[in-house]
Symmetry: none
DNA sequence: ACCAACGGTAAGAATATATTACCGGCGGTA
DNA sequence: TACCGCCGGTAATATATTCTTACCGTTGGT
């Protein structure tokens, strides 16, 4: 199903990025047959591979997985937060705080290419 | 690494969606231990699972994988409330906003189990 | 006490992946 | 022609992961 579509879009993205399977594999520390099998739809893509592939190919993950492009950047974010906060339920705030802790805990991570 | 972050966000998303591991597993035709192991960061998430999970939980894939959401706008009413939380850094605030949006989205979803 | 649901995890079977190697095709070039 | 280097596909098998069932302790309700 969407596995094949993902495979196809991964191949398209790689080609649009002007990379061979070998080049992509080398850059990501993967083996070339892995790329080949993935693009053939015979091999699953792990979520962290998906991240690295999308990043290397310069596309958004949602384009790989769903074929959709996400638009804008977060700008007026803080304003947004304020309003949303006011209508949140207590349990949601609790979950939110847990998430904040999580964010804090994983703060020193790298995500860029 | 990001595998653990993904695991944490998957758990957060599930909880915010108000689903137990068993409910989520049943809905997606997965086994409960699979969800458990994924959320513990011991099991890889396949790309199609990622798709289904994000969909079920009512969050965007990019939030799961990268902790980011590209989305719209809101107002400025309760700015003060947000500022209270704003001993955080900008990047954390950004993540916070994304989380809030996610929570709101899940509220209107199929909250019930 | 019971019961039901939750989430964690152990263990062996089943499946998937990693890694190496080999294949044929294709452009260039001598 | 032959040779070369790079490309992408794939076979083989040792290794790793996942599936599946089952059991555990905890919690909340009756």
């Amino acid at each position: 199903m969407s596995k094949l579509e993902i495979a196809n879009r991964l191949r398209s993205a790689r080609e649009m990025a002007g990379l061979s399977q070998g080049q992509a594999a080398k850059r990501l520390g993967m083996h070339r047959p892995t790329i080949s099998e993935i693009e053939a739809g015979r091999r699953n893509v792990k979520s962290d591979e998906l991240l690295k592939l999308a990043n290397l190919y310069g596309v958004e993950i949602t384009w790989i997985t769903e074929g959709k492009v996400n638009e804008d950047k977060i700008d007026q974010s803080i304003l947004a937060a304020a309003r949303e906060l006011s209508s949140m339920k207590d349990e949601d705030i609790e979950a939110l705080i847990n998430t904040i802790k999580m964010i804090k805990a994983s703060e020193n991570k790298d995500g860029k290419n």
